[in-house]
């Protein structure tokens, strides 16, 4: 294994296949240009390769920086496994009306429960209505632009926190809630990282929500 190959192996660790291929191509191109420049300045082939490799610097440091800007293997797998296209699903008319029907039903039941003095049922029904509303809103209004996506995600997180914080304080076995919340946070963190690394025009639709 040559010095450059070893450098590339370290610099591309944990990167996705596509990202690693991109890094290899650009560094090999850079290395060749650097070596040619050194040789035309009078260095021997061996000296030129050594100086070109030294100029690249620490492969570990480059790897840390590459992982901040290019998709890692884990993020690429996340994108592959969640290949959901909400825009295509939301175009189905029956799904819109199904969600709308249950959102209206939950709101009506909540109002009835409030009139009947059933506080717990009122809370549950109104939370269900808001959750269904949040799920159904992108079926009626397009959120697939960066600005609208940010508004939608802010509303989604406000709702998640508004539900989980009181639930943590109320339920007897609260360990289930942090566990679910951690899974959600992990998934959201990965999505946020992917959003930062990909140009907006390449975002799959589910990244907007």
């Amino acid at each position: 294994m040559t010095g450059l190959e070893m450098w590339l192996k370290r610099a591309t660790r944990w990167l996705s296949t596509d990202s690693a291929a991109q890094v290899c191509a650009e560094i090999q191109e850079h290395f060749a240009a650097s070596r040619e420049a050194a040789m035309s300045a009078g260095a021997s082939e061996e000296e030129a390769e050594r100086s070109a490799l030294a100029a690249l610097g620490d492969a570990g440091a480059a790897n840390r920086q590459y992982r901040r800007v290019l998709l890692t293997a884990r993020e690429a797998r996340f994108l592959r496994e969640r290949g959901w296209n909400p825009e295509a699903d939301y175009r189905r008319g029956w799904l819109r009306w199904f969600v709308l029907f249950w959102a209206v039903a939950a709101t009506s039941t909540g109002i009835w429960a409030w009139i009947a003095g059933q506080a717990f049922l009122t809370q549950m029904m109104l939370l269900t209505a808001v959750a269904l509303g949040l799920c159904g809103l992108p079926m009626f209004i397009s959120f697939f632009t960066p600005k609208r996506g940010r508004i939608y995600r802010a509303a989604k997180w406000t709702f998640i926190l508004a539900v989980t914080i009181p639930a943590l304080l109320t339920f007897r076995n609260p360990w289930v809630i942090p566990f679910v919340l951690l899974l959600t946070l992990w998934s959201e963190w990965t999505r946020m990282s992917i959003r930062r690394k990909m140009p907006v025009e390449r975002w799959p639709k589910h990244l907007y929500l």
Partner: protein, 103 residues
Amino acid sequence: MNFKGALPTLILETLVQQSCHGYAIAQQIKERSRGVLDFKEGTLYPALHKLENEGLVESFEGMENGRVRRSYRITRAGRGVLARDRDEWRELSKAVNAILGEA
């Protein structure tokens, strides 16, 4: 000299003169700083990818000496950011000079 935070600005400044490939960007920064800003070239590309993700530069493939090379050019948004960065740097250096001048 450590200038990690200034690297994106220096890349934009280099590209505002002309579009060029990664190696040429690295060489121009070194030459224009008379060797003072001698950075590790492996860290140049992550900075370029970040600028590209933010829409401040765009890349394109071109032929040079019979070889396909990826080159970069600054975008209109990149020019705006560069103008802002220049102003901020002038303010900062003026302030630091004022303090160091007093010592």
